[in-house]
Symmetry: C2
Subunit: 596 residues, 2 copies
């Protein structure tokens, strides 16, 4: 098997030792499921990811989507990969059995998806977007909408998109201008242009279902006037099959730095006044519905970024073991044999950074997936609420801090390969380019920082922050005996961050949002660093206790030494950021506009 993909032992370790998947299987929703079934699913994912996703990784970058005779042409391997994904049932794996799904935990599904993300994230985007759109219809659509769309999207017969951004409104969804005019039959005439729509047009399925935000005529300005619509490429006929074209036109393709296999489009809806949309749920609640989808998407972006870090890590680790270059410092004999790159301390530093980010994101992303399962399926309401609160805190951190860290990891992969890493003969430069999107899309990272500091930490009088703090406390108490230094360091850092949070919230009360939110990036830097240290301590504790066969000495040592690496070199940066935030006072955090 290819070295690029996630280590299956790591997946098993996360499920069994870190996440205690056995306890999740006690939820009524998952009754009767078997741990061995999960392994079978994961094995299938790994096989398809290798044979049908990884196989065209370079090709779909080189031969990016093209417009020919008005149609989007993709390398055929993309459709083959997507078909294999759908045929194996991955798009419906988490859905109810009565919908034809497997009713698997989202945790297991996300673990399976990690293989696809590491293998070829641009091809994976097609089914992932479709799954996200289907989840949105399932959560907020009418019974009729579910009947008409859901099954076909799960099977891969129809695809899905998110049509939010417009050319003048990227981060500022408040300024969306696309309009929806009520028609007599209860549907709406949609009119407007959308930008950055991934998967907006292609010929893989029989239809494309755009989940589109628009403003019903007369609706309030701003985000409170946005409604959510289902806008299919082809209108459905009486039998639910694609019929007449729905006046959805491709206006152009965006040509990107990476992530090229995912066609990215400029779309026009209703240029000829013939575009019909179906309202989802109630009017003017579109953005709150969309956030349902976006929060999952943000977890997905963080995970995807981390799995690209994983891919780069595995590529550069293999290279570092193979490539003979140089001699140890102090070796004066030029006739002494060269040593592998991994023998050089700084190469191990660059590998450790990557391992920390890659495996740390896997651990955190799967933990978030477990919380998604708990939020929806935990028997007790208090557990559901607690999971919800923790997700509110961690989602922006996973999306933002970990996607930034993943770029650092990918840069280290390129650096380890040196000149070779800078060529297109090796995957690492493409992995970086693909990954560069993640800090931008689904809410640019600065937006995540504002979300964390401006909304989440104060949510329900700090209940979300407390719920997350409780998770840290649990890990601390588990670590006290075997990891006393880390126990103290993390405890102190969390206390410090909590104090800084108070200071910033007070500053907001005293001086307003602009002053308190200006250094939001520094705050999320500190927060993310602490989350990273915590998720590694959690893994180290699990590794030091675990006795399963797949946990060999190298595996165990890797987890524990990487934890120590994170605590030695990374966590102190969080403490520094706290100090900087504390001493900032009420002055300007950054140079003023007229200083540029």
């Amino acid at each position: 098997m290819n070295d690029r993909l996630i280590d299956p032992a790591d997946i098993a370790f996360q499920l069994d030792e870190v996440l205690d998947i056995d306890s999740l299987m006690l939820f009524p929703r998952f009754a009767g499921q078997d741990r061995a079934d999960y392994d079978a699913i994961l094995g299938t994912a790994r096989t398809i990811a290798t044979e049908k996703f990884l196989n065209h990784y370079a090709k779909s970058d080189r031969e990016e989507p093209q417009l020919r005779d008005g149609s989007v042409v993709l390398p055929p391997e993309i459709a083959e990969g997507v078909k294999a994904f759908h045929d194996a049932g991955f798009a419906g794996a988490h859905h109810d059995e009565e919908l034809g799904g497997l009713q698997l935990p989202w945790t297991v599904v996300q673990a399976a998806f990690a293989y696809f993300q590491a293998a070829n994230i641009a091809t994976a985007a097609y089914p992932f977007l479709t799954i996200a759109a289907a989840n949105l219809i399932e959560a907020h659509g009418s019974k009729a909408q579910k009947e008409r769309y859901l099954g076909r999207m799960i099977s891969g017969d129809f695809f899905g998109t998110m049509a939010l951004s417009e050319p003048h409104a990227g981060s500022s969804l408040s300024d969306i201008r696309t309009t929806a005019r009520p028609r007599e039959d209860g549907t709406y005439a949609i009119k407007g242009g959308k930008m950055w729509t991934s998967g907006g047009e292609h010929e893989m399925g029989r239809n494309i279902v755009h989940m589109l935000l628009a403003r019903i005529e007369g609706a309030p300005a701003g985000i409170k006037g946005l409604s959510l619509f289902i806008v299919p490429r082809y209108r459905l006929d009486a039998d639910g099959n694609p019929g007449e074209p729905n006046d959805v036109a491709l206006a152009g393709l965006n040509h990107k730095m990476g992530y090229r296999g995912t066609v990215n489009t400029v779309m026009n809806f209703g240029d000829n006044d013939g575009c019909i949309g179906e309202l989802v749920g109630e009017p003017n609640k579109g953005l709150s519905y969309m956030f349902h989808m976006m929060n999952e998407a943000r977890i997905g972006v963080g995970m995807g970024a981390g799995m690209l870090a994983y891919a780069g890590y595995r590529e550069s680790l293999a290279y570092a073991r193979e490539r003979q270059q140089g001699r140890p410092p102090g070796e004066k004999d030029p006739a002494a044999p060269q040593i592998p790159l991994i023998g050089h301390a700084d190469v191990r530093r660059m590998l450790a950074i990557q391992k920390a980010v890659a495996e740390g994101t896997l651990a955190l992303g799967l933990l978030c997936a477990r919380w998604v399962d708990e939020r929806q399926w935990a028997p007790e309401k208090s557990a559901r609420n607690e999971a919800h609160l923790k997700l509110e805190i961690v989602t922006p951190v996973l999306k933002s801090w970990f996607s930034d860290a993943a770029l650092r990891a990918n840069e280290a992969a390129i650096q380890i390969l040196g000149g070779y890493g800078y060529t297109r003969d090796f995957a690492v430069e493409q992995i970086y380019r693909d990954n560069r999107l993640n800090p931008i899309h689904e809410g640019a990272n600065a937006i995540q920082a504002l979300d964390l500091l401006g909304r989440k930490v104060a949510l329900q009088d700090g209940a979300a922050l407390k719920a997350f703090g409780w998770e840290i406390s649990k890990t601390l108490s588990e670590s006290r005996k075997d990891f006393p230094d880390e126990y103290h360091a993390l405890g102190q850092a969390w206390t410090r961050l909590s104090a800084v949070t108070e200071t910033l919230l007070q500053r907001q009360a005293d001086h307003g949002a602009a002053a308190s939110l200006a250094p939001a990036q520094s705050y999320i830097d500190a927060f993310g660093n602490i989350v990273m240290a915590w998720i590694w301590l959690k893994q180290a504790v699990a590794a030091s206790k675990a006795g399963r066969a797949y946990i060999g000495e190298t595996f165990r040592k890797g987890k524990i030494e990487t934890c120590r690496f994170v605590f030695r070199w990374e966590l102190p940066k969080a403490v520094l950021a706290c100090a900087q935030l504390e001493t900032l006072g009420d002055g300007e955090a950054y140079p003023a506009e007229d200083a540029f």
Copy 2:
């Protein structure tokens, strides 16, 4: 003029206020030169950079060098740009007047080159490589070699390359295998393969002069057995014109992530035993000669990286002023007009990072150029020696720390442009890709860190470090009155770093090179951060005193606020790194080989 290029006021500020170019003009070498002449040269550079380099920036990335019928085909605009550069006399600008040069200070030449680096670094690489090769011949070649090659290289009739690396020997030059067999006429038969040779083949000039490292048969193993050769693509006839082919064969092109306009080649020398090279200087001294060139090249790499940061800064600054997006935090009225991106605090943070790196590198690079002038032309020997020592310290820092920082700057530029920044319709993604080479070539950044900690700080019993420390002291005493906080912070940081240096040198004495050099990256991180703070304090002092007309309030405020930004957010990282290095003890800095 295009916003991309360096701000001419910044160049003038550096020359007049920071570098005191007037005092340099007192050197006998530059007697009779006029400050206005320098401005004319700089104006010409800016015009050619805009009209003949910037014009094909995207094109030479899109249409990268190709091999057709055995020849390298470049977009014709590259040759036009290079020709304009040579025709304007830039390649000989620093050479003796009797050689047809202008005898200008290297400082002024480097300031002119900054425009070309910001406009199109891949096109600039051709004349820059030729200049470096010519400088090497001038420094170490015989009189006959100078007569045969130098004039033609200055005019752009011949081009030059550096042919060092081999497929199995990138960082480890010790392992070069290319051989040189003495021939009866005193020349050598060259045989071997070279890798990563930039500009190794093209059709722009009448000849290409490879400055090649090879091992004379029977020479010692390792770097002490390497000799330097001139190996022309075509042998020179009696008149010095290109004649017979010299058995130099193009074996292939490397396809890179960026920097694509510079053709990068795999070269075979002497496949048919017909490749003749001329020894430069003495046998087995090749690497020491090459280091003459490489040290200049390393300054050039640092400067180039910084000028790409400058380009990205200017692109994203223009965008941030123009693009209207979102409203201030706390603004609840969705009908309120949007504000430009620069109105958002975090965008200003990302602009400030870029400004700090871009203008900081310009200031440091030109200061290094001044030291190059002093090293060669200062009337007193002590001044020449002092300049030499300071360059020994700062060169690896400029090459390494500033090229890493420049990537962070370019990432910020992409982030400011958001989705647009991720497309190839805007320059910032290409600027990043071009820049990604800089931490790799001319000695990977890890090598620079080893060079600084393992060689430079201990050089001549610490004389180099002391000479550089003296520069910091001078700036400190100038800053005490107007910048008391910065005065204290930088003084403390430098004291701390000096103590850490002692600790690490002692560790080397006690435990050997491997233990002491392992955290070399952390050491250069601290060092570079302090250099950054120092160069900004130097600029702030100059800006607060300067009274010239081109220094308006915005310019002055920009320098001073960026200095404060660096001291507030960046310098403390150096202090943290020092603390980490101090507490490291003798344990392993990073996970062991068997932890991966």
